[in-house]
């Protein structure tokens, strides 16, 4: 076991000179970095155990699972108190130990504490009727939120003043079977974590006044923990290990995804949500080919999902369909994909003459034409405002996909078969994307994205290859559309508006353009959040718009940054350039 970096020791390391806006403050604090981190951690833990609030919400009873757990169990440690306590203790321990990159790790923990305390504090204040809810009630002082927040901020300040180290790169290689077991455990943990995130704040669908904040608080704690893990370099290491056992990882991940119905999230509601996420994830991967790989901005992409859905709806034997035939589902999927692909090629053909922003506008125009035509029930194919309802569910023999399944004593919720089907579909689409990306065609797309003229000079026939990007992307969306039609049982033009295209694009960008897991991650986030934050439903789109602006401002390369993309998008970020090295850009065609 060895690391590539020298373990930095805070006490012996030369003092870091801070510049920038808060440089003076940081320099003043720097000598006390270690003490500061410990104090911050102690304050966080203390804050977690102080009473936070002693009121009961005006509306709604105290629910079973979603709690700001101070009503009946003032000293019970669970929920956000547990999270703050754990993060605080971890901060103290790491501050005392000699760990590489410890300041960066502790900073991540501190951010987590501060975020959790802030969220709960704000929520208590707003819902509890003013600052009084945090500070005093029943004659007792309840300032847990303030103490924990201060604890978190002190931790962050002290850690930053100690100087943030580069992320260490671990090069451990264990025996293959140890690594396999490790990966298995990690992926299983991820599965449980996903289930926990989905079900936190109570099962969806139930109106619960506490659900939103409990969920956000869990997310904040998780992002704190994850940023600490990522700072320690362990996440990168796990990535390297899973890359080493690529096939194994893919199989285990697939199994984990299929195992979701067996966890706490295995309810009909979550199966439906997960299926919808799957549809948009598959479509987002298709869009990722067009935008992420080939660099052709498409603002009307959801039309292909719509074309696939309407094609499937018409071939499904639904009473309202214009074509009165009922084909088997697999055939319908193929036909939908082909039809969507043909339209993709048509929409893509202007790329021969139009570039950049103008192409974006052309695709937008095609998208709007599609919506308008569908709204007006063009050729009787789309049902117009009446939509095409009552599309029969997919059935194999006598078994309908929306039935529930009973295996022994275990009863799986209805919709679980759709979930399995969409997981397989997404896996297939990811496989297509992954192989294409590394193929000659994929490299040609990337070359066109980087510099079309240069690509052309290198002998790439840019015209057909760009149209091919649209065609293949549209086919993937068409597949997803066929699934969508059968799952939701009703296809209406309303589902394919401009905003949906923007959401898909946002999913691709949020996740990380040109990466395989990026689109899935982005789609999951963008479609889970509204489900969990129903109480903010009025502000949903407003927050979405603001989030788009903030992402572009602070992390344009997305959560999972593609190597090329990162180099291209973050060219003014010296930290990234330094890490990648100037020579890393052209050689990394992989």
């Amino acid at each position: 076991m060895s690391t590539t970096i020298d373990p930095p020791v805070a006490t012996t390391a030369p003092p870091v000179q801070h510049t920038g806006r808060f440089g003076a403050v940081l320099n003043a604090v720097a000598p006390f970095a270690k003490i500061g981190m410990i104090v911050g951690g102690v304050l966080s833990v203390l804050g977690a155990f102080l009473p936070w609030v002693t009121f009961v919400l005006n509306e709604g009873a105290y629910p079973e699972r979603a709690s700001l757990n101070m009503f009946v169990e003032p000293f019970g440690v669970s929920g956000f108190r547990l999270h703050i306590t754990l993060l605080g203790i971890a901060a103290i321990v790491i501050a005392l130990l000699t760990v590489p990159a410890k300041h960066r790790i502790v900073r991540g923990l501190g951010i987590g504490v501060a975020a959790v305390a802030l969220l709960n504090g704000i929520w208590i204040t707003v819902e509890g009727g003013g600052l009084g809810a945090i500070t005093a009630a029943d004659g007792t002082i309840a300032f847990g939120a303030i103490v924990a927040l201060i604890g978190g901020l002190v931790t962050v300040l002290a850690a930053t003043s100690g100087g943030l180290e580069a992320r260490p790169e671990w090069e451990w290689e264990l025996p293959w079977w140890v690594e396999w077991i490790l990966l298995l455990v990690i992926f299983a943990l991820v599965l449980l974590l996903v289930a926990e995130v989905l079900t936190s704040g109570g099962q969806g669908g139930v109106v619960n006044p506490y659900a939103g904040v409990v969920f956000l608080s869990l997310l904040a704690a998780l992002s704190g923990a994850l940023s600490a893990l990522s700072a320690s370099g362990l996440l990168t290491w796990v990535g390297v290990v899973s890359e080493r056992h690529r096939v194994f990882s893919v199989v285990v991940l697939l199994l984990c995804a299929l195992a979701l119905p067996f966890t706490g999230a295995g309810t009909e509601y979550w199966m439906t949500v997960a299926s919808n996420i799957g549809v948009y994830a598959a479509t987002a991967i298709g869009l990722n080919i067009v935008v992420g790989l080939a660099g052709l901005l498409d603002l009307g992409y959801v039309a292909f999902l719509g074309i696939g859905a309407f094609t499937a709806a018409n071939l499904s034997g639904a009473a309202a369909s214009a074509v009165g035939i009922h084909l088997p589902f697999l055939l319908v999927m193929v036909i939908s994909a082909v039809v969507a692909g043909i339209f993709g090629a048509i929409v893509g053909s202007p790329t021969l003459r139009v570039r950049g922003d103008y192409l974006a506008i052309v695709t937008l125009a095609f998208g709007e034409i599609f919506v308008r035509s569908a709204q007006n029930n063009i050729a009787g194919l789309t049902g117009g405002a009446n939509a095409i309802p009552n599309i029969p569910p997919v059935g194999v023999g006598g078994f309908q996909f929306n039935d529930s399944i009973t295996i022994g004593a275990l009863r799986l919720p209805s919709g679980v078969m759709y979930y399995v089907a969409i997981v397989l579909l997404v896996a297939f689409v990811m496989l297509v994307f992954g192989n294409l990306k590394n193929s000659r065609l994929g490299r040609a797309w990337i070359a066109i994205r980087e510099d079309e003229d240069a690509a052309s000079a290198m002998g790439i026939r840019t015209g057909p290859i760009k149209i091919l990007a649209f065609l293949i992307g549209a086919m993937l969306a068409g597949l997803a559309g066929a699934f969508f039609a059968h799952k939701t049982a009703v296809v209406a033009y309303d589902s394919f508006r401009f905003l949906e295209s923007v959401t898909l694009l946002a999913a691709v960008i949020l996740g990380g353009m040109g990466t395989i897991p990026g689109a899935v991650l982005g789609a999951s986030i963008l479609f889970v959040l509204p489900e969990k934050l129903r109480e903010f439903a009025d502000y949903r789109l407003l927050l979405f718009g603001l989030a788009l602006i903030l992402i572009m401002r602070f992390r344009p390369q997305g959560i999972i940054a593609d190597k090329h993309r990162k180099a291209e998008l973050a060219d003014d970020d010296p930290e990234d350039v330094a890490r990648e090295g100037p020579g890393a850009l052209p050689t990394e065609v992989k």
Binding site: I361, V362, R372, L499, I509, G545, I549, M552, D572
Partner: protein
């Protein structure tokens, strides 16, 4: 014949409105090559700003007189829209000035969604269409051809104000020092900086002018259709962008001509082409695609500039 003339008149009215919005698109694109998707929302915000002023801040006795209400609403709408446009430039676009091209475009989409939703959430009653008071003489000319061609006074006001503002703006850009600074910045920002021009100021000015014109357009739109809704920004914004492209982007006169063409296509296409008014928007987009594919520099575009 009278139907045809009526549609021509309708088309010109709608078109001059689109032209006012298109000027903002074309100027911003000319200077920072950004498709400012949020510009349509500025138009919408202007309409709501004008309405809010009339509803909440001006005594009803004053609103009742059109010669008070009209200028107040126009100025208020223009001011609100201008301030929002300046804030948008400052906080959303300026930090991305040197970012890759995709970033500001996505940001523009984000600003568009956020503005629309902000109005919907925070303006009282904005979840549905809101009635807008008539701001001009209520009545119409009737030209005695065939069954009579009816031309509303409000429509005439629309055309006159739009063309006057466009004319004034073109004079401003052609004849004044600031206008020259704008043209210089649009040609080459770095060289303009060497010549002592502060590009940031010029860019803010561009957004301010475009915003003010869009605000005026918003108020006129409300007064013409007698109700406004939060969707008006997006649709008309896309039309206006189409108009800007038609006329040749970066060209004020082109934007006006493009706007009028869009108006005519919509009115005549809705009347005479198959599908009727249900498909009138489709024809506009078809024209857009054809122009972009076959003459991307538009009617008045100079040489084709390579835009990566």
């Amino acid at each position: 014949m009278s139907t045809f003339l009526s549609q021509i008149a309708n088309g010109l009215m709608f078109g001059s409105l689109i032209a006012l919005i298109a000027i903002g698109y074309t100027m911003v694109y000319g200077i920072i090559t950004l498709i400012n998707f949020a510009h349509g929302e500025i138009f919408m915000v202007g309409a709501y700003g004008g309405l809010a002023t009339l509803t909440y801040w001006v005594p009803t006795a004053v609103v009742a007189q059109w010669y008070f209400a009209l200028p107040i609403a126009l100025v208020a709408g223009a001011l609100v829209a201008m301030l929002v446009a300046i804030a948008m430039e400052r906080f959303a676009y300026r930090p991305l000035r040197n970012a890759p091209r995709l970033a500001p475009l996505i940001t523009a989409l984000g600003v568009s969604v956020a503005l629309q939703e902000a109005v919907r959430v925070f303006y009282p009653g904005a979840t549905a269409a809101i009635p807008f008071p008539p701001l001009f003489l209520d009545g119409a000319f009737v030209i005695p051809i065939g069954d009579g061609v009816v031309i509303r006074y409000t429509g005439v006001l629309l055309i006159v104000v739009s063309l006057a503002l466009a004319f004034a703006l073109e004079r401003f850009v052609e004849r004044t020092r600031l206008g020259r600074a704008m043209r210089a910045t649009s040609q080459d920002r770095d060289v303009a900086r060497l010549m002592g021009i502060d590009p940031d100021r010029v860019i803010v000015l561009t957004f301010a002018i475009g915003g003010a014109l869009a605000g005026v357009a918003g108020v006129l739109y409300g007064s013409y259709l007698n109700n406004i809704n939060i969707d008006m920004g997006f649709q008309n914004g896309i039309f206006a962008f189409t108009a800007a492209v038609l006329g040749g982007i970066g060209n004020i006169r082109g934007a006006v001509v493009g706007g009028l063409v869009i108006g005519l296509v919509r009115a005549l296409g809705g009347q005479y082409l198959p599908g009727g008014t249900a498909y009138d928007y489709v024809w506009i987009f078809v024209v857009l695609i054809i122009v972009l594919v076959f003459r991307p520099q538009g009617f008045f575009g100079e040489s084709e500039r390579v835009r990566a």
